[in-house]
């Protein structure tokens, strides 16, 4: 292992360089995945917390599919957000939109439609749409059954098509 010294919260921590490389490789897709799950305001914290927890987990050294593990970690982290966190962020984003009109935001219509999807449906749809994964590949990535994955994907597509037509 090769280590890099970083300072976090004032405390010196020693970080495995190879873990940094892995993060750098998947950071963009993880942040997009998190945005699909929890919206842009919470996505950074979700990714950061998920990655730290994953890479400091006792089982991390034995993980054979780190990319899938990181996606699952992000999904689990998103699940752990309280409803009050989500409501607070929604209020802040509504207020922020009035001030910063030129930043890309999610329209209310899309936000409402996606808000009706479960986290499972959002995550399945994201992996199918952006990564063109098969149902079996999605199921393996997220630790779901094939049947649950198929159903989540079907339900997600139908909900969005009905709400955004």
């Amino acid at each position: 292992m090769q280590w890099r010294i970083v300072r976090s919260c004032g405390i010196v921590r020693l970080v495995d360089v190879r873990d940094e490389e892995l993060y750098g490789k998947h950071a963009d897709e993880l942040i997009r995945f998190a945005t699909t799950l929890v919206g842009p305001s919470l996505a950074e914290d979700v990714v950061a917390n998920a990655v730290v927890k994953a890479m400091t987990s006792p089982s991390w050294p034995t993980v054979t599919e780190p990319r899938a593990y990181l996606f699952r970690s992000v999904l689990n982290e998103a699940r752990g957000l309280s409803r009050s966190d989500r409501r607070r962020v929604h209020r802040e984003e509504v207020a922020a939109r009035a001030e910063v009109a030129d930043e890309p935001t999610v329209s209310l219509e899309v936000r409402d439609a996606v808000g009706r999807l479960s986290l499972r449906e959002r995550s399945v749809l994201y992996l199918a749409y952006w990564h063109d994964l098969s149902v079996d590949e999605i199921a393996r990535t997220l630790g779901l059954s094939r049947r649950s994955t198929e159903r989540a994907l079907t339900d997600a597509r139908r909900t969005l098509e009905e709400r955004l037509s």
Binding site: I5, A43, E44, L81, S82
Partner: protein, 319 residues
Amino acid sequence: MTTNWSPQVARAMHELSNAAPAAPPVHDLGGRRPPPPRGAPTWARVAAAVIVVAAAVGLVALVRRDDPAPVDGPAAVVDVQHSRYEVTITAELTCAHPIDTTGTFPTYSVDTWSDRVGRQWRTTIAYPDGSTLEHISQGSAIYPTGSFERGEVRAPRMGCVGPAGEPFVLTTDPGVGGVYALDVTPELIDERPYVRLFTDDGTRVAGDHVDSRGRPSLLWEQRIDGFGGYGNAATNPLVQIQRWWVDPVDGSTVTEHQFTQTVDGLGTATITRTLVSTEATTVASDWFDTTGYRSLPTYPRPSQPPTPPNGADDTVPSP
């Protein structure tokens, strides 16, 4: 899975994707606000200072096989500052399972060659068995745009192994990254405010002091109290102390740097880096050739300078 996506689905996915923020930089991952655990008391952060530090130690005692001979004449030469350091890593561990340090060396020497005009730096770490770890940085001493390495790290990780096999490292010498320099001027001065100096983080300790080589010195010290543990848990009280011995003549040249970490239940580990010599000289321009080196990832300079630690606000979190 190739499928025909409806315009509605495509719209939703693209809007979400376009609104995605930039991924947090790797050095900021551990500093994010953690979500409050359900049912657990909230706890305050100890301090907020995020920076990558590459400290070096000085010393000169070995004559190395690949020392570049100073070059005379109008051939392709480069003016450099050549510094030599010595590194010592020690530990007194009280845990049941210390990390295995077989095959590592707790003492070794480090040479650096700094081409400040061409903005390239070379570091050679020489271990007692003759093996070396070499690194070349280009563009920036702290956030290099090119980073190259050959050899292996042979410094020990001083720490303990937890019940699930996870390591907790109290100290080690990374051996990678940007320039390995103890003396922050001028390499790091022009990287300010993205680099913090001992004058930012430390407090001058009154009185007369000497470093490990008996050189009269000014002494600066920083102490940080916090919590750490296996798996990034905040279970064990810990103390981190940094010391800088500074040349009393110029008040800025760091001649020795020491980092000590003590973790309750695990023990204490210390890394000391000592400057032995520094001189202006010349080397052949191919001294910075990266042929045969492996390329390392580089990281962009952060968009915001690091937040300075606020000692007045330091609080000890309740586990």
